[in-house]
């Protein structure tokens, strides 16, 4: 199975981030860059699928030169090859523009390899802007099917069978390939790279795809524009109830709700 994993380099989401005072600019001073957590889940799911059915994984990202590190990270945990899509012409692209660029990269890589991708994995959203738009927009740009919020996947005779997380539970969805899938947090965690895979990844080339390689794809007119950037209002900390036993905690919670006249 030929698999493509799209990933994004984002600021470390374990760090609390603020705007620079009096501006709408996000202060990222001293904040490390990491691979978007949902993309690491997507890669792990893809790696497990590859181990089960065979095939190859290609990892791509759009970003500046430093995003090369994100691709390198993925080469150590399951990706067989990686590309950095980078061009000044792409810098201003919004999610719609990025999905057009990614679609052009898909066509380019398929033509180069002489075979199509069977599956394209994306994280359900990026932890920085959390729009969740790129996966669906990419499926649209490529004219293929889409399944969102996967937490598990397996190959079937005709395509794939996916376990999709919904607001009320799970749904099993079958789809023909090729298609795009977006991945939520599965029951397992991404693997650790081994020293061997890490060293191998360090030596692997990561070619750059610029606008010229991608037939001078035009990100097009933005599909969205940002009206205002602001920090969400701080929510008050909740009350922690931690009695000796579960029963005592429940009784205390009930008593507190009764006192507050919400029961």
């Amino acid at each position: 199975m030929e698999i493509l994993v799209c990933l994004k380099q984002v600021p470390d989401d374990s760090v609390e981030i603020h705007l620079k005072p009096g501006t709408e600019e996000v202060n990222l001073d001293g904040v490390d860059s990491v691979v978007n957590a949902f993309d690491t889940y997507a890669l792990e799911m893809a790696a497990r699928l590859k181990e089960a059915v065979g095939g190859s994984i290609t990892a791509i990202t759009i970003g500046p030169e430093k995003a090369r590190d994100a691709v390198k990270t993925c080469l150590a945990v399951g990706a067989n090859q990686g590309y950095l899509i980078s061009d000044p012409a792409f810098e201003a692209a919004d999610t719609l523009g990025k999905s057009r660029i990614l679609a052009a990269a898909v066509r380019h890589l398929e033509a180069e390899a002489g075979k199509p991708f069977d599956l394209i994995f994306c994280g359900r959203e990026a932890t920085d802007r959390a729009t969740g738009q790129v996966g669906p927009q990419l499926a649209e740009a490529l004219g293929v099917g889409l399944i969102t919020d996967l937490v598990d996947i397996e190959q079937t005779g005709a395509g794939i069978c996916a376990k999709q997380e919904t607001e009320s539970g799970y749904r099993r969805v079958e789809a023909a390939t090729p298609c795009v899938v977006t991945v939520n947090k599965p029951a397992y965690d991404p693997r650790y790279p081994t020293i061997k895979s890490k060293l191998a990844a360090r030596k692997m080339p990561i070619p750059v795809l610029s606008a010229a390689e991608l037939d001078n794809v035009d990100p097009g007119r933005p599909g969205s524009h940002v009206v205002r950037v602001y920090e969400p209002a701080k929510r008050q900390a909740g009350v922690k109830i931690k009695e000796e036993t579960c029963e005592e905690s429940v009784l205390k919670a009930v008593a507190m709700m009764a006192d507050a006249k919400v029961l």
Binding site: D32, T73, Y192, P193, L199
Partner: protein
């Protein structure tokens, strides 16, 4: 023998006047003040708890208690493991947790000034935000810095950076008489008389109450990578340690862990982090190693060469934790050992021996061997890089009296062996009152006499934390 007075109503009124609004008496005292994290050594409710906010308030409390001949037990966050902060002779518990201000950084001299009740975690986070590292890194991040200094706490990074003692430049201390003294200075060397500063460090609140500290900080290393090394058996795992230490790569931290305790910790955290098998072979031991440096390529070379050493020495494989999430997960599993044991154990005791690094393997083998003679379970883990081992005696079904009897016998043998191998009975937890008799056995009567003599000089009425370290009523 010293006789102490009970806290009188007059003393309570005087304490309330000295520390308004922060004096609790009898029924109002939170039960937490009656024990630390090792309640097996006995609980004791103080008669009064005073929560001071300044050196002057501490001085006033000490002066009053000294005059009234009432014992005072200084207490930080109560995370100790030897009963050091428990008021076993009643009297007043003097809590420093409300003295929790970071007073400021001197970035030219690379020091930070803090009140003694600042939590280690708060300083570590605050320093990190400014690009600094406060290297001491005990597993318990919610201990106070005053408590850390009082026990000379060590922690994970001691292998490369040393223990708390190496980072204390100066301090303000209130003596048992109420006098305020300043020890040390923001200098990197000194040859100016007896080092009272170093005498205070590790004195477990028996010589004076530390109220303010000037601590050394260093520029934070730019790159940090941890390795999880997988082994089929503990012997191979521990035998690697001297080889790694000889390599000259200077790991920041080097911890060994056995399978059972890793599974216990993972179950406690609800997250499986470390692999259980490698290509069909069951993994029974792990080394968790951290390297730091200022250059990514240089550090990559270090981990490559260190990996070659461990693989040649019999490791099954080496996993690389190089992203914030992977590092956090790997160290969360290690840092939760004690909590995981506490959550799963009704009767618990521990020892904290330190042996020369080349004796770790024979010591661990000895402990495993003698553990068979007892009805409790023995769980051990530790700082492989500096020979400091934490050995836990755990039981869920023994009667307490029998547990204590068997543990006493186990400890006696374990400490005797550590001493025989050239070790010490505590690497970083201290003596408190739980280990006082074992200390006396290890160091002998002359050393104990000297220590008690020193205590008399600082504390003529012997009111400060009696029954701890060297002075037993």
């Amino acid at each position: 023998m010293t006789q102490y007075e009970k806290v009188s109503p007059e003393l309570i009124e005087a304490l309330k006047a000295a520390v308004p609004g922060r004096v609790s008496v009898n029924g109002d005292i939170n039960e937490d003040f009656s024990h630390d994290e090792m309640p097996i050594y006995g609980k004791a409710m103080p008669e009064v708890v005073v929560e001071a906010t300044s050196t002057e308030e501490v001085a006033a409390v000490m002066k009053l208690c000294n005059e009234h001949h009432v014992p005072v037990t200084p207490r930080g966050a109560g995370t100790g493991l030897t009963g050091g902060a428990v008021a076993i002779h009643g009297g007043v518990v003097l809590s420093t947790t409300k003295m929790n201000k970071i007073l400021g950084y001197d970035t030219e001299n690379m020091v930070v000034r803090v009140q003694a009740g600042v939590l280690l975690n708060d300083l570590a986070e605050d320093a990190a935000k400014q690009g600094f590292l406060y290297p001491p890194d005990p597993g318990e991040k919610f201990a106070t810095l005053g408590g850390n200094v009082s026990t000379n706490a060590g922690g994970m990074r001691a292998v490369k950076y040393g223990t708390t003692r190496d980072y204390v430049r100066a301090m303000t201390v209130v003596l048992p008489t109420g006098e305020i003294i300043h020890l040390g200075a923001s200098v990197s060397k000194t040859s100016s008389g007896y080092s009272l500063l170093n005498l205070m460090i590790g004195s477990e609140g028996t010589l004076g109450v530390i109220t303010e500290l000037t601590l050394k900080i260093i520029p934070a290393p730019k790159e940090v990578i941890s390795l999880v090394v997988l082994y089929e058996n503990l012997e191979d795992c521990i035998a690697t340690v001297p080889k790694l230490m000889r390599s000259g790569f200077q790991p920041q931290a080097l911890e060994f862990m056995e399978r059972e305790i890793v599974r216990l910790s993972e179950a406690y955290l609800g997250k499986s982090t470390f692999p259980q098998q490698f290509e069909g072979t069951e993994i029974n031991a792990y080394l968790l190693v951290t390297f730091d440096g200022d250059n990514e390529d240089q550090l990559a070379d270090v981990i490559e060469q260190a990996s070659e050493i461990v693989l040649e020495a019999g490791a099954l494989d080496v996993l690389v934790a190089d992203t914030p999430q992977l590092k956090k997960d790997a160290w969360a599993a290690r840092s939760s050992f004690l909590e995981a044991i506490e959550a799963n154990t009704k009767l618990l005791d521990e020892s904290d021996v330190v042996v020369p690094v080349n004796q770790i393997a024979s010591y661990v083998t000895f402990i495993k061997e003698i553990a068979k003679d007892y009805d409790f379970e023995v769980k051990s883990f530790g700082h492989a890089g500096d020979g400091n081992l934490h050995i836990y005696n755990c039981s869920n079904d023994m009667a307490q009296e029998e547990f204590e009897r068997q543990v006493a016998d186990f400890m006696k043998r374990a400490y005797a062996k550590a001493t025989e191998l050239g070790g010490q009975i505590s690497g970083e937890h201290g003596i408190g009152h739980g280990k006082l008799d074992y200390l006396a056995q290890m160091v002998g009567p002359v050393n104990m006499r000297l220590m008690e003599g020193i205590k008399h000089v600082f504390d003529p009425n012997m009111i400060l934390n009696p029954g701890k370290v060297c002075y037993k009523l």
